[in-house]
């Protein structure tokens, strides 16, 4: 950040906190976030040092992600529902302070990086305990149900979340313009086997290894709420369990972190409702299709010149392995 921007940010935070002597002792970019930027803030005020995170948009924003104000409201709703999230503190919708709207939340310690956390069997008190903790978190998220005035930006829930997901993927494929027969094959099979609708709940929609901050005691934060929507809670269980999100540790079916059975058992205990395994598996097929569509769209940002980046370019090359896995799933199923 530039010096001028730091000054504007300091003044804004001083007004938001009411601490006129507030001083920003440090600003540094945190890792991760192709869509959002996260900055670590060290802030001194009232004689205390606060460790916060400032979250704002990257230059090229995916059209499907929610704006910062919405993400802030979701964090609040989740926090109130007992979900382990970083406590949301302040929202700034004025784009002129730092160049884009942002919000500030408490900084949480832990590890999130997918390739690292799947290798550490001690996180969360062991694999079964960690999978159980994830089940509890998800059940709490799914306790948030429509209608909710504070989450009105989510719109009306879809009449049928499964068919809506298929339609959304087809629309994105059409918008991208590249014919992808293998993904179409997967979508058609999904359409023919779609489970009947269930009452809608809040679906996080990116609840997976890499977006879960963990430490030795368990989950320290569920991150990245920008894709949340009303839908079928099994979609979250499927996204977490999908093989493509196990970071190579495929034997641990709950996100490469722990056993599926412990995840389901804790989810059922917290929610009081049974997990329908076949429904979760259906959403795992959709997870592979969705990740392929997202990966192709990310590569398109590089190809179009919107954001030239080797990382985005290589993300496109994940699509073929997802297609391969989709065909395997359909043959096994």
């Amino acid at each position: 950040m530039t010096e001028e921007r730091d000054t504007r940010l300091r003044d804004w935070l001083a007004a938001a906190t009411g601490e006129l002597d507030l001083r920003i002792a440090g600003v540094s970019r945190l890792s991760g976030g192709a869509i959002q930027q996260n900055w670590a803030l060290e802030v001194e005020c009232g004689g205390n040092l606060h460790r916060w995170v400032l979250r704002t948009d990257s230059p090229a924003v995916l059209a499907v992600s929610l704006p910062r104000a919405a993400e802030f409201a979701l964090l609040r709703a989740a926090h109130d529902a007992g979900v382990t999230v970083p406590q949301p503190l302040f929202l700034c919708e004025d784009p002129d302070i730092i160049g884009a709207p942002f919000f500030v939340m408490r900084r949480v310690e832990g590890q999130a990086q997918g390739h690292r956390v799947v290798k550490d069997a001690t996180l969360g008190g062991g694999r079964a305990a960690l999978a159980a903790a994830l089940g509890t978190e998800l059940a709490r998220i799914h306790r948030i149900r429509p209608p909710r005035e504070d989450l009105a930006f989510l719109g009306d829930p879809p009449a049928d979340a499964a068919l809506a997901a298929i339609a959304a993927m087809r629309a994105r494929l059409d918008a991208a313009g590249t014919p992808r027969p293998v993904l179409e094959w997967g979508l058609r099979a999904a359409e023919l086997s779609a489970p009947p609708p269930v009452p809608p709940v809040l679906v996080h929609n990116d609840f997976r290894t890499g977006n879960l901050m963990l430490d030795a005691s368990g989950v320290t934060a569920v991150l990245d709420w920008e894709f949340a929507a009303w839908g079928d809670g099994h979609a979250d269980l499927g996204w977490l369990c999908a093989k493509c999100w196990r970071f190579g540790n495929i034997g641990q079916e709950a996100g490469g972190l722990g056993p599926r059975a412990a995840l389901y058992a804790a989810y059922e205990a917290e929610s009081g409702a049974p997990v329908e395994d076949a429904r979760v598996r259906w959403w795992e097929l959709m997870a592979h299709i969705r990740w392929a569509v997202i990966a192709a769209d990310q590569a398109a940002r590089h190809i179009s010149g919107q954001e030239r980046s080797l990382e985005l370019a290589l993300t496109g090359h994940i699509v073929p392995e997802l297609e391969w896995e989709i065909l395997n799933m359909l043959e096994e199923g």
Partner: protein, 104 residues
């Protein structure tokens, strides 16, 4: 005749320099970028090999037909299309992510 070594040789050699000489000397926060460079070169090399085998297919029509249910289970061309897609997916994975083909 163009001068030797050719593009393939140059890419193979450049990739070895990235992995064997640059990567160990880089600060840890740049290791990811170096691995991405090596990975991109590897994909480009495999693409050169595979490009001769890319089948002539009307992908747009095929995609449209599949979506319309014309190749659903029970239709005459279902087995043929299933096999075609598997071959097509195998070729694509062989370029972009050959390790998945080695996992049974």
């Amino acid at each position: 005749m163009l001068e030797k070594p050719d593009g393939t040789d140059l890419l193979v050699t450049a990739r070895q320099v990235v992995l064997n000489e640059l990567l160990p000397a880089l600060p840890p926060e740049k290791a990811f970028a170096a691995r991405m460079v090596a990975s991109a070169i590897a994909i480009a090399l495999r693409e050169q090999e595979a490009s001769a085998f890319v089948p002539e297919m009307d992908l747009a029509s095929l995609a449209r037909e599949i979506r319309a249910g014309e190749h659903d289970p029970g239709t005459p061309r279902h087995p043929e299309v299933a096999m075609l897609l598997r071959q097509y997916a195998r070729l694509r994975a062989a370029v972009s992510a050959p390790r998945v083909l080695r996992q049974g």
